[in-house]
Symmetry: C2
Subunit: 217 residues, 2 copies
């Protein structure tokens, strides 16, 4: 297993930055080796009992919620190295699915485990992500949202020049509260403005980072 490379940002100052991977290391006995999932395969389901936490090894994951009328909302994407699926001893409020061929490591939790202090930084970061996403989708304009999404993905992948999108337009749409058509149109508009360039449908070069930031606010 790869030693998780962790660089917790300044956000978690009050709570010590290191313990998340320490938890994982110290409890490696409860961890399972990487298991792989096919594209679209469910990792856990809504309403299912939550007893483990997960870490993306390769590929990507979407956490989503389905409405009665068939509409779907995606709450978050998770890229390699990132944790998701907290909520042990309770019931999952959302489901998680693999995007493309994906490897997942998992760690079992028990009711008596006192992980609170160790997990606090992770939970706080999760909260911060949720808040950022709130701000993103409250923005009015479709192009703004799309620009913000690209900016977010670039930051998370650590390359401000080239973004590799693992997910389909439909996933992006459900994440941004748009339709696939609108996402596509937004991409086209960004391309026409010279902000981005395509190298294949899911490989996007960011030509003008400054303009992207301007649009993302």
């Amino acid at each position: 297993m790869n030693a998780p490379t962790v660089s917790m940002n300044a956000r978690t100052a009050i709570f010590p930055p290191e313990p998340v991977q320490a938890v994982f290391a110290s409890l490696a006995s409860r961890s399972r080796p990487t298991s792989s999932y096919a594209n679209g395969q469910e990792i856990y389901a809504e309403g299912q009992r939550a007893t483990r936490i997960y870490r993306v090894e390769f590929g990507a994951v979407r956490v989503c919620h389905s409405l009665a009328d068939g509409r779907r909302q995606i709450l978050s994407f998770h890229l390699p190295g990132e944790w998701f699926g907290f909520g042990a001893n309770s019931v999952h409020r959302f489901s998680a699915e693999a995007i493309g061929y994906t490897g997942i490591q998992s760690l079992g939790l028990t009711a008596t485990m006192d992980l609170s202090s160790s997990l606090m930084p992770a939970v706080l970061q999760c909260l911060a992500r949720a808040q950022d996403h709130q701000l993103l989708i409250t923005r009015q304009c479709a192009t703004e949202r799309t620009a913000a999404f690209l900016s977010e993905m670039a930051e998370r992948q650590g390359d401000r020049n080239l973004v590799q999108l693992p997910m389909a337009r439909a996933d992006i749409a459900d994440y941004l509260g748009l339709t696939t058509e609108s996402v596509s149109r937004s991409f086209t508009r960004l391309k026409d403005k010279g902000v981005i360039r395509f190298h294949g449908q899911r490989s996007i070069e960011i030509a003008r980072w400054d303009m992207l930031q301007l649009l993302s606010e």
Copy 2:
């Protein structure tokens, strides 16, 4: 940047739901007595150092973020008994303001936090609310969002028949990603459908809870 990310998917997890108030009681030594704020008064500002957490005693609080162009987004409302002000990094990412005449108790945080486990339920509730709000504002229709908002407020106030709104239409609009006009029109539509009745502009009787739920999904 490749910081590990954790997605919290369940409201309660391994952390018991009750001890939040107990924390406050047991650590009263670090707490400050209730201080009161006038309508619109700032409790803390964006960029300000975050050293305390807060609890609404009476009145209400809005947590908001201002964009460069003057647009404002409200991330959350907080009602009596609720905690806010986590984001608990060294610096506040958003500001908090009183809605109406409001009483706030606060609790100082130290670098050697032993409170993690005690505060975890409150943080998790914050996170669950943020996720719920994510789902809420991804809904397309203005009336759906407004109905969901009323439903949420009714649940939080513990009365499914009568909702007392402490905040102005403009606040609701910035919370739902709409305009004051759209919020007003949505209310009117709900009224015309017989779902709600007005007893004054900010006192709303829910005549048909089932229809409200149907709209809210």
